[in-house]
Chain length 350, copies 4
């Protein structure tokens, strides 16, 4: 007999009509210790979750819960944690009153990831909407900030590309095993990464049979990647990063290159990665014969990591795969929520 | 009124059952100055081209021509040029008697691309089957070796990845605009690049919704890429190269990075590329607002090239797209044949 | 001023920004006896064809010709034939002045396909915009109306589904080989069939890994299918038809069922189909071992047809495949144009 | 030594290397009341489940359990239920000794679905390997045979197509609401339906951008479909059925047509379906505005059903969608197992 916790934490999702919102709904509806009390969407208001997302049609909670218009006051009354799945620039409007009312916030946009409002402006082309909250926010990557996330009031979940890059690079940067000036990253993302946007370039016939780079050379995610790498390195890190769009629904495949530091006599990445991540519940280190494949992580919160040292070039090549809307967004947000609530980190995710 | 050349050159394709063979057949059947007199395949022998490849069913020549078993003597009698579309290691067996009989050979395998038999052995794991022919062969990349191809008896068509890498890098290497020690390449290939092989990893359900690196860190194409870059540079070039498999039928998307040479005061890639390729019939230089997309080159012999200079990292990023079995294989082979026959280079290809 | 060869007919495309418009541009640019003098699009006005459609970037005509706003007077002056690639309801506005000015019109919308304005209203939900032109229009299916098309001033090109259904059924209906009350059709269409529309349901991630029926039970194309079948039968024919959306770019796969007429003693479909279509340039009748596959007709103007008689059910099953935007739209339009101009029917299409 | 909870039933999977085997492993590893004690595969013997199927790499049970060669005696000792995921013709060899030893068997092949050995021979081209067991087997479709499955020793799980056809048709056949002579079915299947077979026609580049009928007119699944429909009708039912292959990994979309019986004055399918399936845990009846889409059932054990009555043709059109390897194979097998073990039917499946 399964013992059910008598107390389910009430949570809400603001902006639940997009892919990350829908995935949050999926994870929260299936979470044993959570009660999804509200999902907001201007566009879907009045429809039940089951009507909007037919894959949830068998779930009573999805039939019973209707999308509503977002009302911060109401949300603050009803929910202990509110997830914001909004485009950047809009999160502050909700975060401010929610935090003021004592409701904790997990934001999935870029708005609270970048600590420096000037860099935010450089990359996002607008003044930061709530610079006073930047000091409060914690970057929601449990593999780096687990302890801070537990007590955070405002968690800024990382972008999908940064997640696929920062986890692999962290132990190498920390140990100064690689030359920080030589880091170069190529990523390939599935099309859900673009969101449920009405733009011609994301129509089926424009993406199918198409592979293309975009956002060259200064994709917005660079801002947070370099911020976090610099924090890890203790000095400013500037990297090269090129994203590509590939015709899959879900998944990011990332390949990272860096020269091994001259100071390193002998680098055994297996030791480095096992030391760093042997106990991490969502990091899977692949053996020498296997390389990451997006299909092995699709629908999961795992990051698969493999590496090789190229003796010819004195570089390490590190490859990772994640599901861009699970570990790259909504799964990570739930992982953070579990930490914030003192729940086992994997509950509702494995 | 269209004037038809009275003399059509007889040519043959050996190993015509794979994707490159089928594409050669398509191009040669449509070529106004060519008569396809033989197509060989052990597996399809006795079947007509139309039966084997239903997309050609309306073409009289495809209905009339049956696949045969390959017989070098017969081929030498019947054809003036023979295309070899065989796996590496098998081409020599045909090339030797054909060349001896005075028939010119266009080989699409790797066998005659690498000038140094020792490097061939290093990368292909076997002794070279005909080292005495290596001196005779010309690397079949018209953008570099146009004049030599005209008179060649044995043309070794480049691999698909090398084509997508060498054409973009050539003018920069020649001018010493980039630091040759910093060249790094990521490529994504469609699944026809793996050939029509019966291997589980290329089944639809293994490739669909999958993106994955492979051949890390020493893919076989590195041998010819570095050979040709070294020739261009006049000194040994070693590069980093990672191929990935993506779920499209046709296409290679390649992204190349290199640091700009310290000696270069100011680099204007538009000038460099226009100077090098302004007159090339199959090189399309994209303007600043457009990046290469495999769907724009699918089914064509074009290579689309774009670039950007990242001032933050002092690197140039060059992006290219080709169809891996046209410009990356069979189209390029026909381009070479046109040169060998003194025909306009684009005939049958545009 | 561009000098036009005296033997090239000037034509124009109105509404050239969609998939059928783009495909028309592709076919007309490659047509040896045609001069594309105008392509109109409100949205793309001012851009060159090469800018809008990078796959044409190497063609001088595509670089030189800019999209313009549609002006019927100007079009009538400059072009002898004007193609209308507009949504239904808009074609009349152009057809009327063009025809009045003596310019011939090939319309790819549904507006002039249905001879009965009442049926048009029933299926398209609006009054017919130019009922006075319905008598003039010829249904642009050369396999049925070849002779009328030659002299037509207004050709109404069939829809993609109707093309894939009418050609297979015609010889059977004509001979009364099947019971007209038992005709049942299932079709599967690639996503370009939906046009370049900004609707969420056609985004990559909504179509990829999705197969779904739609337009049940009364898809608009039924109107013209039943009109034409009734014409062929000499009595009213009502059929069952269900379209499905499948994740491919191009192609329609259609499977048709009908009971063999009681009056028929012995039906040899091979004889019937060969008799009807043995000389048709774009109809390929498959042998007994082969079934139609959209990939064999993609990019071509062919329709592949196969059949089988199911002795268990006394039904004939007929299967066809076409490219929905070539034989199902733009290729067929060019085929009609060739007839209208007295050119060989296949020129520019094979 | 692994300590097994006393309340977990030990089960085994024979032939676990294919897609249905892999999916069974996934479901059984995640099932709270099951202990997967053996998984057999000649080809993978010696490898752990985690090595063979990297998506399970984080599961201790998958790391700890190695594929073994199938040994019926050992299996009978270790498992209370054995799943056979073998090609047809091979299941009898295992079923016979297992049943003799008192182990219950859930067979996913066609071998025990067809009650009449002569029909088996007609459709499968060989003598039935164990006709003496045919009387014992129960057709594993819980929506029809729930009670018999509970006590069955040998369950023959239905094919994927039959599942998508029989569930929708059952209530209409039972009530004689439709004319059984007019049933006609078109189905579209994802490529996992073909299994993990090394055949060229299932390579990525042969399936991608391809839609094609196959198995016309007498696909093997017809045998069991007609057997079960005849059982429901109480008289012999012969139907028309055409399967198609479409480029998705998972999913079957089925569209069924039948004429409404003359005897029926007024048919309200909503009442019929709600009456039949309102309480079924895995049947989701869609409202009038929604049609089944494979993407909504992918990865689940649901069947989505919608319908419409076409007044023009007096036919009902019923549409269904399932995941071919969950409700169409392995999920259904687990659903049967739950019934056999007296567990809640949905455990491990929702």
């Amino acid at each position: 007999m399964r013992v059910v916790a008598t107390t389910e934490t009430p949570v809400a999702v603001v902006g639940a009509s997009g892919y990350t919102g829908e995935e949050l709904v999926r994870l929260l509806l299936g979470h044993p210790h959570i009660d999804l009390v509200a999902a907001t969407s201007r566009q879907l208001a009045g429809k039940s979750l089951a009507e909007a997302f037919p894959r949830f049609a068998h779930q009573k909670a999805a039939v019973g819960l209707k999308f509503s218009e977002a009302d911060p006051k109401q949300l603050a009354r009803d929910a202990r944690i509110v997830f914001l799945a909004l485009p950047h620039g809009l999160a502050a409007e909700f975060a401010r009153p929610l935090l003021a009312a004592g409701t904790r916030v997990v934001d999935l946009s870029a708005d609270f990831r970048i600590k420096d409002a000037a860099i935010y402006k450089e990359f996002y082309g607008r003044d930061h909407p709530a610079p006073e909250l930047l000091g409060e926010s914690v970057y929601g990557l449990p593999e780096i900030y687990r302890d801070q996330i537990r007590n955070a009031t405002l968690v800024a979940c990382p972008g999908c590309y940064p997640t696929s890059i920062l986890i692999p690079l962290r132990p190498l940067i920390r140990r100064k095993a690689i030359d920080r000036r030589t880091i170069l990253v190529t990523s390939m993302s599935g099309v859900t990464g673009a969101g449920r946007k009405m733009e011609a370039e994301y129509l089926f016939s424009e993406c199918n049979e198409s592979v293309r780079p975009y956002g060259v050379p200064k994709h917005r995610h660079l801002a947070e990647i370099e911020q976090e790498l610099s924090n890890l390195a203790g000095e400013r890190v500037v990297i090269q990063f090129t994203p590509h769009l590939v015709p899959i629904n879900r998944g990011i495949s990332t390949t990272i290159y860096a020269e091994i530091s001259d100071a390193v006599v002998s680098l055994d990445p297996a030791v480095v990665f096992s030391g760093a991540y042997g106990q991490e519940p969502f990091v899977r280190l692949l053996d020498a014969e296997r390389l990451p494949d997006t299909k092995n992580v699709a629908g999961t919160n795992f990051i698969d990591i493999a590496w090789t040292i190229d003796q010819r070039t004195h570089r390490i090549v590190i490859m990772s795969a994640i599901d861009n809307i699970v570990k790259g967004a909504s799964g990570q947000a739930v992982q953070c929520m579990n930490l914030m609530l003192g729940l086992p980190e994997t509950v509702g995710l494995i």
